[in-house]
């Protein structure tokens, strides 16, 4: 992009013959910078824009009986979403996402904040500890939660061993189990976002506030919190948006009884074989998440997610 802008003035200052102009244009076209960007454009067009357009078109078609779609235009996939049962899945998804994000912020913010205050060695060690779980598939780690939660599972054994409870708690396949699973899966993203923001914090500002008579709490609220807010907000985005789509946690830990938009899309696609409806649901979900990101930009006044660009 920048290559094109730079090329502008040379062309204007050189009103030479046509061949020269063409040469310049050619040179500009084959400019190293332009060429190096091409693969990314091609990739984006092919693998991001293409599928999105396909999905959008699909959402206006009719389903075929056994398999596939018919090339007939219809609005019915979108009007179908307005049925109470499907609207409710959107409500359930938002509710769970809010819950999850709230708890993730509660756990992740202090974690990331204090992690930024550790010595360089400990920062590295903490980082490693946070990364290690990602070496295992998240699905397998969720099965670990099943072992903990299930009747007469690890948690039950400990609680009953200590005499705190008398009978199995039946925690598996409950809403709380889903929330725990979601928090577990998403908390690292909040930690990383807050940490990256707290790392950049100039602690001298906090000291200055303290020198000027602020209590530690006042100094935190007026200085540290304000300055790490972008990190918190981008952590919120990084938690909120994936939690709208993490259908397999609700499946595995919720026993399929918490129906989120993600579950519905998966089921329509894989089991009900209603691709157009799944596509329409995805389009609506995408619009919803885009609104969330727009809101985030508005609130934080930042164009990009903290630390991403």
């Amino acid at each position: 992009m920048s290559a094109e802008i730079k090329a502008g003035p040379t062309e204007a200052s050189d009103p030479g013959g046509v061949p020269q102009k063409r040469k310049a244009a050619l040179r500009r076209f084959f400019d190293a910078a332009t060429i190096s960007v091409m693969p990314i454009y091609a990739f984006t067009l092919l693998f991001v824009v293409g599928p999105l357009v396909y999905m959008f078109i699909l959402s206006f078609l009719k389903r075929a009986e056994t398999w596939g779609v018919l090339r007939e235009f219809t609005w019915s996939n979108y009007t179908n979403i307005l049925k109470p049962v499907y609207l409710k899945t959107f409500y359930e998804s938002l509710k769970l996402a809010f819950f999850t994000t709230f708890f993730v912020a509660l756990v992740g913010y202090p974690f990331g904040y204090f992690m930024a205050r550790l010595s360089a060695t400990w920062k590295r060690r903490m980082m490693l500890l946070l990364m290690i779980p990602f070496w295992t598939s998240s699905l397998i780690r969720l099965y670990g939660w099943i072992i903990i939660f299930r009747a007469n599972g690890t948690l039950d054994k400990i609680l009953m061993g200590l005499g705190i409870t008398q009978a199995p708690l039946k925690l598996l396949y409950t809403y709380s189990a889903v929330v725990v699973g979601m928090i577990y899966a998403l908390v690292p993203f909040m930690i990383f976002a807050v940490y990256s923001s707290a790392e950049k914090l100039d602690w001298q500002l906090v000291e200055a506030a303290r020198d000027l008579g602020a209590t530690p709490w006042q100094a935190f609220i007026t200085v540290s919190f304000r300055l790490t807010l972008p990190g918190l907000l981008s952590g919120v985005v990084l938690t909120f948006i994936p939690s709208m789509g993490l259908f397999f946690i609700a499946d595995i830990l919720g026993g399929n009884k918490v129906i989120l938009v993600g579950n519905l899309i998966q089921e329509q696609l894989m089991k009900a074989r209603n691709w157009p409806f799944a596509a329409a649901l995805s389009v609506v979900l995408m619009i919803l998440t885009s609104i969330m990101i727009a809101l985030y930009r508005k609130v934080s006044g930042v164009k990009d997610l903290e630390g991403l660009v």
Binding site: K62, R63, A64, E65, T66, W67, N80, K83, V85, Y86, K88, T89, E92, F134, S137, S138, L139, R150, A151, N152, P168, K170, L172, Y173, Y175, A185, L186, P188, F189, F192, A193, Y195, S196, E199, K200, S234, L238, P242, G245, L246, F247, F248, G254, G255, N256, K257, V258, I259, L264, E267, Q268, M270, K271, A272, R273, N274, L305, G307, L308, V309
Partner: protein
């Protein structure tokens, strides 16, 4: 720090993608080597014990290329893409066979090349997808049955209707197949699984909502584990799960619901343009051999579709893999219904699951 967050984003993507990363079917190899020295078998993973496949290769000198699919629909898409070529033998579910045969993607079997065809249990033949047995040979059947732990359940269960009993509150687990579970309600109302009367399906939906308080879990994978661990006391399960559960705990009771039995059949067919049809016929005949069949079904844990193999099955398994004495053929298969009916089915199913979450 920018790098770090970039990394975090990648991780976020990985988490959300994890579920999408399922088994990728291997690409089939075609056209190599002389004809009939190869067999491109296309089915789900784990349909045959390794030894059986190895023995076939040893005896015939035909090499088997086993490629897998996860969903019947994926198989259909691949066959459509190749016009019925690439694969020599496919094993898939009943309802999709109807689509395969009606789109001309299967070829008629040459029964003279399958001397063992007489071993097939006729109960599983002549079904809607292939009324004259021209295209398919069954390989395993599934029956949705109720299994319960008599120590934990106060009532006697002999049909679907009993599952609505209030004493079973929060103790029932079902598979996540919407047609099977909606079908339970349809059966209780005395209707067919395949009714296309939207009012009747709606009524089944209302009936199903009343079942919600009893539901503890709805899932397809390893439901038997929950029954064995005591998480649930009653389950509506697939045949292979019932067999696994029963082998682990012989005290469990298996019920053929009095309202009638729903069942599904898996069957072999040879695609229209199969590169090695002779090898495919040989394989079909090979697995119809009573001893080979018995070995396969003990391993597969589905109902034995080979009558000659019934008595060869290990007595530990025989009761769960063969139909009971005096079986009255009161059974119905789940078939594809009209798009409108299917839409009502998926809606009442979603309503039902949401209602289960409200307890």
């Amino acid at each position: 720090m920018k790098k770090l967050l970039g990394f975090a984003i990648v991780l976020a993507l990985l988490v959300s993608l994890a579920s999408a990363c399922q088994k990728t079917p291997g690409a089939p190899t075609t056209g190599e080597g002389p004809q009939d020295k190869e067999l491109n078998l296309f089915t789900w993973e784990g349909m045959f014990p390794e030894e059986v496949l190895a023995r076939f290769e040893d005896e015939t000198g035909i090499r088997i290329n086993y490629s897998t699919f996860d969903f019947n629909e994926t198989m259909l898409a691949k066959l459509e893409a190749s016009g019925g070529g690439d694969y020599d033998l496919v094993i898939a579910d009943d309802y999709i066979l109807e689509a395969v045969i009606s789109s001309g993607l299967a070829q008629k079997l040459d029964l003279s090349k399958i001397p063992n065809i007489g071993n097939v249990n006729p109960i599983y033949q002549g079904q809607f997808y292939d009324p004259n047995n021209e295209y398919t040979v069954p390989y395993g059947a599934g029956v949705q049955t109720i299994v319960y732990n008599p120590d934990a359940v106060q009532i006697e269960i002999d049909g679907y209707e009993d599952l609505w009993d209030p004493s079973l509150k929060d103790s029932l687990g079902t598979i996540a197949n919407h047609r099977v579970i909606n079908g339970m309600a349809l059966k209780v109302l005395g209707e067919s699984y395949n009714t296309e009367d939207l009012e009747v399906i709606e009524a089944a939906g209302r009936k199903l909502i009343e079942l919600a308080p009893n539901i503890r879990v709805i899932k397809d994978d390893n439901l038997q584990d929950d029954l064995l661990s005591g998480e649930i006391d009653v389950a509506v399960m697939y045949t292979s799960q019932v067999t696994t559960a029963k082998l682990a705990n012989p005290d469990l009771k298996v019920v053929f619901p009095k309202e009638g039995i729903g069942f599904g059949i898996m069957a072999n067919f040879i695609p229209a343009k199969a590169p090695h049809p002779d090898a495919a016929h040989k394989f079909i005949d090979f697995i119809l051999d009573p001893e080979v069949s018995a070995e396969c079904f003990e391993w597969l844990r589905y109902y034995c579709t080979n009558k000659a193999a019934d008595e060869l099955i290990n007595p530990d398994y025989r009761d769960f893999l063969t139909l009971p004495e005096g079986f009255n053929e009161d059974m119905e298969m789940i078939r594809v219904v009209s798009a409108e009916a299917e839409e009502v089915h998926t809606r009442i199913w979603t309503e039902f699951k949401a209602a289960c979450g409200q307890n």
